[in-house]
Symmetry: C2
Subunit: 176 residues, 2 copies
């Protein structure tokens, strides 16, 4: 029997428990993500994988925002986040804190997601970019590596919140 579980049966931590819980050593950076819908959806995914923090940069919208809330469904309360106008400033600060900086982008010398090995002792910052322009070249120039999700269809990219889901699941899983 595969009986559907009720929300109360899922054993999720409450807000207070979650706040004090040990987090996955990954920081997300959103580099000029335009759609509030995508930002909210990324908050929700980050909550599910207990990601450390989200840094919202440039034109990326910030909570409190009705449109973000529609897809975040409360994850703006559980997730730690901050705003930094310049993505490069956020990166410099994280580099000083010894984070390994990765952009998810289609570049020369990118590493296919399936080939990327995670080092459990390292801390990672993962950058996702604008829906059309992607991560800016000047941001990529500051990164330690770029990860690319292999694609075999006619389209050039994924929706950014889908990309974030795929990459976070893959890295989270490799950390277990």
């Amino acid at each position: 029997m595969m009986r559907k579980l009720k929300n109360e049966e899922l054993g999720r931590p409450c807000l207070e428990e979650f706040k004090t819980k040990e987090k996955t050593p990954i920081v997300l950076i959103l580099d000029n993500v335009r759609s509030l819908n995508n930002i909210g959806s990324i908050f929700r995914t980050a909550d599910a994988f207990a990601i450390e923090k989200i840094i919202l940069c440039g034109i990326t919208g910030t909570p409190p925002n009705k449109e973000i809330s529609k897809t975040a469904l409360g994850a703006t309360e559980s997730m730690e986040w901050s705003y930094c106008e310049k993505t490069s400033d956020a990166i410099q600060k994280l580099k000083q804190e010894t984070y390994f900086i990765i952009a998810v982008e289609q570049v020369e010398n990118s590493i296919a997601l399936n080939d990327f090995s995670i080092a459990p002792e390292k801390k990672y910052a993962i950058i996702f970019g604008h829906e059309i322009r992607g991560v800016e070249q000047e941001v990529i120039d500051q990164c330690d590596a770029c990860i690319e999700i292999p694609q075999f269809g006619t389209k050039h990219s994924f929706n950014v919140s889908v990309s974030a889901g795929i990459v976070l699941w893959d890295l989270f899983n490799k950390l277990q």
Copy 2:
């Protein structure tokens, strides 16, 4: 140097090439997915992993539709799809064609996505459900297994297009 690639450098197949290409032996079933935005996004992801087909069931909207196109960005042209009013009819037909039927849902006796082994000789149909209600219990009762994406946050589920991205990437990768 990690130079950003132009769309023309990504080496994507054109529509005609893609149509004749061997596909990933996975059929997607959307069981009453409400949001046209999510449906379009799932088409785009399915294109990227060269999924065999999408079956749209119940209230799930169908192309041609302006809202679906906004997020599918042309993937409604590349992807094979059909409409079936009753999800259970779609399942029965696929069972006759020896597909192994899986719902992505939080149920008793679900298999964690990371624990799920794919058999390369089998063909799979993967069901994703309604944004709030999930996959219907009567649909689950017809399935061979349920997969669950492990979650460690305060929220109860992922956005359905994010779920589809995570599960398709994971299964696609295991097939390689």
